[in-house]
Symmetry: C2
Subunit: 152 residues, 2 copies
DNA sequence: ATATAATAGATACAAACGCATATACCTTCC
DNA sequence: GGAAGGTATATGCGTTTGTATCTATTATAT
């Protein structure tokens, strides 16, 4: 049983703040990538999630879990991506309320192009900061945190 | 010297993605706090930065470094917080282009109220997820990452 | 000294956002 | 099987955001 001493409190908040600010620093750096001018990082996130899921189709609410946006915002973001020809909608057969989102060929190509540059930049930044072992540890800890907080 | 093998690449991107999604999960949870209805989390961030700096005053561009917003957005956010009586502006004496931002008494009180609930929630979430040692390690690694990426 | 470039912050305007709510469909319970 | 309540997505509307640009001040170069 852990005591709620001031230093214990600080440990929790300091480590969270450190996580948060490192994320801001990385994001700021990643957003400098010129390719992100034509496809915002949250838009890329959508394409990325669609590219990596096994069936190729995701429900709107599944997308919503991964991006820090409200449901209406995702809905309209999907509108825009659809009108740009990057994704397509189809209604879910088992639940006619639902909508399935998938990449078009153009969208998949776009994701690959932007993704390559993105991955390259992430590698450059992570590599000089942390050793492989440290990356593994970081992944473990953040994974543990996410699982505990969100339960999946 | 590390080789750019696919698995090495994956290690960098996977650990970054894990960091990112854990941050999203935490944020989502923290934003459920009712007190954040009257003071958005980015607005709180501003008050928080002002509360913790030694002189009590920060330049607009210093604030900008800590929050993932563009300069015009910070500028207008400061407008709103000022008109709500939470912060005050004064021009910097050594550089007449500059503006210094500080908390009003009301702003400091607000920061404390919201901050307490915020800290409480962070503690609850972190505590069940990670041990003290793990939090220390997480802080070390993210700190290392931030320093490397942003250089401060 | 004066022109030139760089920097800090503010503002105009269009695009994107969140909140509240509407609509359509599914589930449950009687 | 029909009403009541729950869930998935869409839309109206006011607010906040980013891009581009503007003004004011400071730094640099000739």
């Amino acid at each position: 049983m852990t005591a709620a001493t001031p230093s214990h409190r600080r440990l929790a908040t300091d480590s969270w703040e450190s996580l948060l600010t490192s994320q801001v620093a990385m994001m700021r750096e990643l957003q400098k990538e010129p390719l992100f001018k034509e496809l915002g990082s949250r838009e890329y996130d959508i394409l990325y999630q669609l590219s990596r899921c096994s069936s190729g189709w995701l429900r709107l609410n599944e997308l919503n879990e991964h991006v820090l946006l409200t449901q209406p915002s995702i809905s309209r973001m999907v509108d825009r991506l659809e009108s740009r020809g990057l994704i397509q909608r189809k209604s879910a057969e088992d639940d006619k309320r639902g909508v399935l989102i998938g990449l078009t060929e153009k969208g998949a190509a776009k994701q690959k192009t932007v993704g390559r540059a993105h991955v390259q930049r992430i590698m450059e930044l992570m590599e000089v900061a942390l050793t492989d072992d440290e990356m593994r540890t970081l992944q473990d800890l953040t994974s543990k945190l996410r699982t505990s907080v969100a339960g999946h």
